[in-house]
Symmetry: C2
Amino acid sequence: MSPAVNHAMQKAVVLVSGGMDSAVVLAIARERGHAVHALSVAYGQRHTSELEAAARMAADAVEHKVVAVDLRSIGGSALTDDIDVPTGGGNDGIPVTYVPARNTIMLSIALGWAEVLGAADIYCGVNAVDYSGYPDCRPEFIEAFERLANLATRAGVEGAGIRIHAPLLDMSKAQIAAEGMRLGVDFAATVSCYRADAQGRACGDCDACRLRADGFAGAGIADPTRYA
Amino acid sequence: MSPAVNHAMQKAVVLVSGGMDSAVVLAIARERGHAVHALSVAYGQRHTSELEAAARMAADAVEHKVVAVDLRSIGGSALTDDIDVPTGGGNDGIPVTYVPARNTIMLSIALGWAEVLGAADIYCGVNAVDYSGYPDCRPEFIEAFERLANLATRAGVEGAGIRIHAPLLDMSKAQIAAEGMRLGVDFAATVSCYRADAQGRACGDCDACRLRADGFAGAGIADPTRYA
């Protein structure tokens, strides 16, 4: 939650999902001068094209690690279970695409790796505006995780502390698209769709596709998404 | 962190490692009347006898789930890596058997499952006295995790909230042994040793064996451990 400063060659763990948000976060961490250690969590996503996109966007990171944790076995989400992904828009309450505790779990794994690497900075693409229905996408969640991280680790107890960065937290999807353009992000290589096919082509109908398309439109950028 | 109350037939997720501490926690959750959903996390332990012990002790739970997360891939601990397990006693600073962010990761997965089950109570065997060198075994860590859990989930935002119970937090190993005896825990079936063999027999030399043996001695209980 600390402001943008120059972290020249300080190691950072960056959570990379393969979607447009994490592609922008990765570019922001690079711009700040971090040595980027990219982390993807294979949590039982319906399709692997997201993780393939993550590997492409992390190609020039110091390293890219994929840690598997089978969240399908605990169930509860349209993104990992046989629950229909919503396509109708409308976002009252917590959506069925919410994966229980996903951000907590992914940040925890990032924290473990940061501790091993001696990295003090963890970046994630959590965004409060468009996903306001997800409880773990709010500023108070990020603040609480940072507090926990500093109690849970050697770095917090003996060292310089851990910082959790969520630079997109208050951005709209249009602002994220514009920031990505400024940083030269190749959005065509990213996959945001909840129902992408094996080639990573988007459905164009799900809520993630809708938000993404609205973001490019709002930023006045031609939509580079590959649709099925 | 809430005090002992009667939770008759309310679901609880109980983290079960196969060691003596989590066996006692399981018995405490049962005594409080919970419908127990036991959770083991396969994080790349050196041996599987611990997880086999967990399955035995959870045999009469409503269900026992094992979720795999490969912490070996992030490295950093004598419990998952090829680092020698210490046998010399002496516990200055954070020991090499500390698995980075392990309790954060295990509690996060428990939180996700609790959310799916509609369970408001999560039990873990975290213990501050004997493992004071582990930063994620302190009361302030448990409190911070409970706070995070209530920001991260539906239950926290829309429901009755999540409680994190660490009933062994302030107990000595002797007190844990005595409490387990009172509750009828079969300690011979538990595996605490860091270097247990394939049959779950203990080495008798590592710090975990030493603490455990001292615990039985302190409680005036004959040591039921199966030694190699």
